[in-house]
Subunit: 380 residues, 2 copies
Amino acid sequence: MFSFELEATCGAARAGIFMTPHGPLPTPVFAPVGTQATVKAVEPRELRELGATLVLSNTYHLYMRPGDELVRDMGGLHRFMAWDRPMLTDSGGFQVFSLGELRQIDAHGVTFRSHLDGSVHRFTPEKSIQIQHNLGADIIMCFDECPPPLEREVVRAACERTHAWARACLDEHVRSGDPHRQALFGIVQGGIFEDLRAESVETLVALDFPGYAIGGLAVGETKPQMLLTLEQTVPVLPADKPRYLMGVGSPEDLVNGVARGIDIFDCVLPTRVARNGSALTRRGRINMRNLQYATDSAPIEEGCTCYACANFSRAYVRHLVKAGEILAHQLLSLHNLHLLLTLMREMRAAIMDGTFPDYAQEFLANYQPTGKKAKAPPVA
Amino acid sequence: MFSFELEATCGAARAGIFMTPHGPLPTPVFAPVGTQATVKAVEPRELRELGATLVLSNTYHLYMRPGDELVRDMGGLHRFMAWDRPMLTDSGGFQVFSLGELRQIDAHGVTFRSHLDGSVHRFTPEKSIQIQHNLGADIIMCFDECPPPLEREVVRAACERTHAWARACLDEHVRSGDPHRQALFGIVQGGIFEDLRAESVETLVALDFPGYAIGGLAVGETKPQMLLTLEQTVPVLPADKPRYLMGVGSPEDLVNGVARGIDIFDCVLPTRVARNGSALTRRGRINMRNLQYATDSAPIEEGCTCYACANFSRAYVRHLVKAGEILAHQLLSLHNLHLLLTLMREMRAAIMDGTFPDYAQEFLANYQPTGKKAKAPPVA
């Protein structure tokens, strides 16, 4: 269980298969995010139809509501949300650190107040792993500290804590979990500092995790800083283990990440921008509220084969967005996920064919990043 | 085009087929309501999968947004919302009368302010028909006045206006429409008064519409008053034309309506109660927020074959409702529509088999109406 086989490489880009108890996970792969045990506005059968193979759900949110013990008693997260393919849970760390003044960190964990009712809770490495055992995802994550990536001394302290907590997570997983049922991934921290990243990799690799995440990116650094950090960090990671870039997922980031050797991605972006009335396309993001679409009979994206584009006009989608109709969220979420999942499949095929550099270059040449118009992610 | 063939009767209940330019419409039939050119939270392919054959959309809402001329320019309502089966539009009358102080009625029409931006508009019988021509539904409705059903003098005056407007609608339809493409139904008014209903039927039947609606019910009278009015009105309607009970659609109302000879129904109830977190079942309505469902692994309704019941527990649906997830609206809407559409198919089969009275009796014996807990419909 949890073997990782590389099928092809093309420069730094890799095509592989990660075996899980819920079936093979072809990589590179993008995981839609189902924060509260549902990918917002998308049915599990639709995720399947879109070709999604991995779904991420959030430990913090499910611990809060409906409670991880309830999910366990209902047969685990797969059964609860009717998703029978591979699943990943985060550790809850990112969410509790995002609570700002509602949380207090110490050497052994984080005490925080619920964003729902203000009640006091405490996450430790052990607690995070226990919750993730109850949820039962195939891939679970170490409880880490995710600091602002630009302040060296803050990052260094967070690394030390992250490393101590990684050992505690591993111990708890071995003690009370089943490493054949759930693979615990380590999370590399180190901000934008090459030496700290290298040191973090070295420390975690000594613990021999079945996969490694790169955490603490896409949370404040510039795009060039993020890409440089990937270029510095990925080469020192073991080649025979999957590499997961957490929380990243714009179309250009996926291409740039794969080009630098990343295997797994997740992001709320495609479904969040959908609910804001925007569509991702191969040329960039478009706001469906724009008046220019009012009488536009073309689909959201010409040439797209998703259900939304095969059946509806931009004029109709704009009407739904303007009228506040739920179907707008449904159709735009389907389209945006379709684009990212198709992109991942195309990149995998290009890696297998040895044509990935051309593919990536052409994609990026056509793509206009949103840049300053992109909204910052909300807290928690 | 628009022929109506009766296939079987069983007491007053009838099974028929109404031919439309978008295919045959087996009756009795329930039409899900797509107020703003979408049945809320349900994709057209899902409506098809549920076996929906007729969808209603609202003239008032589409006139306001995105505008009936835009819908016409986009190829008509069928194409705009990707629904290729029969469709029905109301006249806008019910909505503009519901605007209360925002509207003023005179002999020739209604002047009103938009609920969206306060702008002033005017509907006349001619205007309503012109809008419905632009929308292009298979079945269109006369612009009528729908008064409170219990005040005789108010009802009498509304009948006179309704009859004059019915003539004006028919004239406009013949003048500028295509009666082979769109069937204009007359609407019988008369409140709970047998003689006024009979007079309304007589007046409208003289105009020879291809179908007749019973309007002005389910807007203030008691259930026994509604059923008595059906028993008094249906027998005087022509047997060879479809009969449409407007705005009615709880499970028990559908059974009671079919038992009294109604062929067509529409109602927002199944999708509206879904968005309020409630499920319709064969035993009555249940509020999925109830604590008792928190750890209930049973489906919403035992024995139901809909997508929601085949895949998800009450515990999961409750979680979605409590967490405010869109998927709650999707799953409950699918389930509620599935129940009503299945009910209609079962009633049709029972009429064909000659077992309808037993079927209706058994259904009503098991069903617990919501009674006073039911919410009044909102304005417009």
